[in-house]
């Protein structure tokens, strides 16, 4: 009995829609099993994880705030991965954006004007872009694998932030604790209500922009071609090197924007930890969303739900928070597995008879 893959003549439209649904369903089943093993009622646990977070207004607000940076970064990464450019360092670009944008309140704490808001956001984007340009440059100029370089740079960026907030940028009135001055006034993002800040609007804009670019513009076509068939792209005159830079600058900029938005809202200052791994979670979101803008949006919301659900589960069920991470990993696995069904049909065949040319 062998498992054989038979290539379909064209992508199965049914599976394109069904695949993520199937993956989610399988994850819920797997999750239910994990809960059952731990002695919990699977349905109750699943309810707490996935339904409860959307039942109160406060929870929904928190959901949006949590999903915003994820979607923002996820969009950028989706573009990258479509072009076969593997930016794994979004977390570092996020940090770099926060650092560069944070220069203003740290060096000019008294400066208050709407211009401050604009400048900080702009610097945040630029910071992320500059930081993203490094792996791009190393890849184009030296052929260095961008997965590893961008990842290593994450650690470097975090250590740079650490040094800044413990040393030169430490709040002089902060009892020598590692934090910068607290941001105030125009240095903070305007909010709708108490928590929902405009970063959410940026995320939505990013989703729409990507949909337009990928669906209707030449750039989108270029991205896809260079990702799927680089040689064809070369013949068409598309430059791979330029694409690498484009992707890294775009995703770096978006990550930097997410970073500066975080420190301008929920964190409110620079400190050693400004992100609970958004840059890495966004990678999952990009894949979960199947590199498609609407998909990324939905995936971001889904994952944000699972985070909030994980916290709620700790309080109401006494379940450890690590289950949330396992959920995400399992979900990603199932998505990747179910994706196969789009390109291939699975058949079970009887074992082959020994063929003429023996292997060993």
């Amino acid at each position: 009995m062998r498992l054989v893959l038979e290539r379909r003549a064209e992508h199965s439209r049914l599976m394109m829609v069904m695949s993520p649904v199937l993956a989610i369903a399988l994850t819920l089943v797997a999750g239910g099993i994990i809960f059952a093993i731990r002695g919990l009622d699977p349905l109750e646990a699943l309810y707490v994880y996935f339904i409860e977070p959307v039942t109160t207004i406060w929870s929904v607000e928190q959901l949006l705030v949590k999903a915003a940076p994820l979607v923002l970064i996820g969009i950028g990464l989706a573009v990258c991965y479509l072009a076969n450019v593997w930016n794994i360092g979004a977390e570092g670009q996020l940090t770099a954006g926060a650092i560069l944008g944070g220069i203003i309140p740290v060096l000019f704490p008294a400066w208050q004007s709407p211009l401050v808001l604009a400048c900080m956001l702009l610097l945040g984007i630029i910071g992320g872009m500059i930081y993203g340009a490094i792996p791009a440059l190393l890849k184009v100029r030296f052929g260095a694998n961008e997965i590893l370089t961008s990842l290593m740079l994450v650690y470097v960026a975090q250590l740079l932030l650490d040094w800044l907030v413990r040393g030169p940028w430490r709040d002089p009135k902060g009892f020598n604790f590692p934090k910068s001055v607290t941001f105030d006034g125009w240095q903070l993002l305007p909010t709708i209500g108490y928590t929902v800040h405009i970063g959410i609007i940026f995320a939505v804009i990013a989703v729409l922009a990507m949909a337009v670019v990928m669906g209707r513009m030449l750039k989108g076509f270029e991205i896809r071609v260079l990702g799927n068939a680089p040689r064809a792209g070369r013949f068409a005159g598309f430059s791979r090197d330029r694409m690498v830079f484009f992707c890294f600058l775009l995703s770096g900029g978006l990550a930097g924007l997410a970073g500066i938005c975080e420190v301008m809202s929920t964190v409110g200052q620079l400190q050693p930890t400004i992100s609970p791994g958004y840059g890495f979670t966004a990678i999952i979101i990009a894949f979960l969303g199947r590199l498609n803008p609407v998909g990324v949006l939905l995936a971001g919301l889904l994952l944000a739900i699972s985070y909030l659900g994980g916290e709620a589960a700790q309080v109401t069920l006494g379940v450890s928070d690590k289950i949330a991470k396992v959920f995400q990993g399992i979900l990603l696995f199932f998505v990747l597995a179910c994706d196969t069904l789009i390109l291939y049909r699975i058949r079970f065949q009887p074992p082959l008879a020994a063929h003429p040319v023996s292997a060993e």
């Binding site: 498992l3 893959l5 290539r7 991965y81 593997w86 794994i88 190393l138 100029r141 030296f142 052929g143 260095a144 694998n145 997965i147 590893l148 370089t149 990842l151 290593m152 740079l153 650690y155 470097v156 250590l159 740079l160 650490d162 040094w163 413990r166 040393g167 990678i283 999952i284 894949f287 450890s320 690590k322 289950i323 991470k325 396992v326 959920f327 995400q328 990993g329 399992i330 990603l332 696995f333 990747l336 597995a337 994706d339 196969t340 390109l343 291939y344 063929h355 040319v357 023996s358 292997a359």
Partner: protein, 306 residues
């Protein structure tokens, strides 16, 4: 003198996990599979090794458990990428994530417990030789194993038929398939070997390096091991040199600090990562070398077109 010996001993223990993981991944990549899940496999190896050793009191069983854990996780990876032909990069990342999460869950009840330490070997006369005695003859068995593995892999890859087949599968899987070699089977074996080595590396961390378990105890070493493989141009003995180079830089900041130089500790801590980038740049810049040694089909999916 004592200090130099202490320094060398710490370098050896710091470098061993790098070497073990890198050798395994090297074989997998030689067969054309890029498994980014090294960090995940290492950490499950660490937790299972610790759990087994703690529960049974035997470090030997701990080592076996570590190997088994890494192998199992890599089997999952293999199933997804070789049988279901999923994207290798994404699957590898998912593997890391899953590994970190699973290890956290499994290890929950083992946090804060005193571990069983893998005893260093002791040879009556040799180990007592001042200075070099402990360095050459007083290490954990896994340190010696790392070098034996390197030698075995070097021999296997370049002097045996099996090695030739592995490298053929990695350079041109269509040709290898046409010649009748079972590409998928070869790749599976290499992936499993890679998983076993990564698991072993993790086991070393929780059984010999610091006999305890905490979450994420691999601390990014898996990623550095991946960089090491590139750095070594997929050549086993170069991987050993690279592993020791990185091991030295990894703990360099602990030596430099007491010297009282006005270097921010964060800069010292970031050195391993900066050095990794530098090493990658240097190696990759030599396009000729890269082209000669990179397995041509690295990361490309293979489906037999029958």
């Amino acid at each position: 003198m004592l200090e130099l010996q202490a320094i060398i001993l710490t370098i050896i223990t710091a470098s061993t996990p790098f070497l073990l993981a890198a050798i395994g991944e090297l074989v997998a990549e030689r067969s054309g599979v890029l498994n980014l899940g090294v960090e995940g496999m290492m950490v499950v190896g660490a937790v299972c090794g610790f759990a087994a050793a703690y529960s049974t009191g035997s470090t030997f069983l701990g080592v076996l458990a570590a190997i088994a854990a890494g192998t199992l996780l890599s089997a999952l990876f293999g199933f997804l990428t070789l049988t279901l032909v999923a994207n290798q990069v994404a699957t590898g990342l998912a593997l890391t994530l899953l590994g970190l999460g699973l290890s956290g869950i499994v290890g929950e009840s083992f946090v804060g417990l005193p571990g069983v330490k893998l005893a260093a070997i002791y040879i009556p006369v040799l180990t007592d030789i001042p200075f070099i005695g402990r360095i050459l003859f007083g290490q954990d068995p896994l340190v010696y194993l790392s070098f034996i593995l390197t030698g075995v892999v070097a021999y296997l890859l370049f002097k045996t038929r099996i090695g030739l087949i592995i490298r053929a599968v990695g350079s041109s899987h269509q040709s290898a398939h046409a010649l009748g070699y079972r590409v998928i089977a070869v790749r599976y074996s290499c992936v499993l070997f890679g998983g076993a080595c990564s698991g072993l590396a993790g086991g070393f961390l929780s059984l010999a390096y610091t006999p305890q378990w905490i979450e994420n105890m691999t601390g990014g070493r898996g990623w550095i091991a991946l960089a090491l493989v590139v750095f070594s141009s997929w050549l086993p003995w170069r991987a050993a040199i690279g592993a020791y180079l990185f091991g030295t830089v990894w703990i360099l900041n602990l030596y430099v600090q007491p010297l009282g130089l006005p270097i921010p500790p964060q800069l010292l801590t970031s050195l391993p990562y900066l050095v990794t980038i530098l090493a990658l740049v240097i190696i990759s810049a030599n396009r000729m070398l890269t082209r000669l040694n990179t397995p041509a089909c690295l990361g490309q999916p293979f489906v037999p077109d029958r």
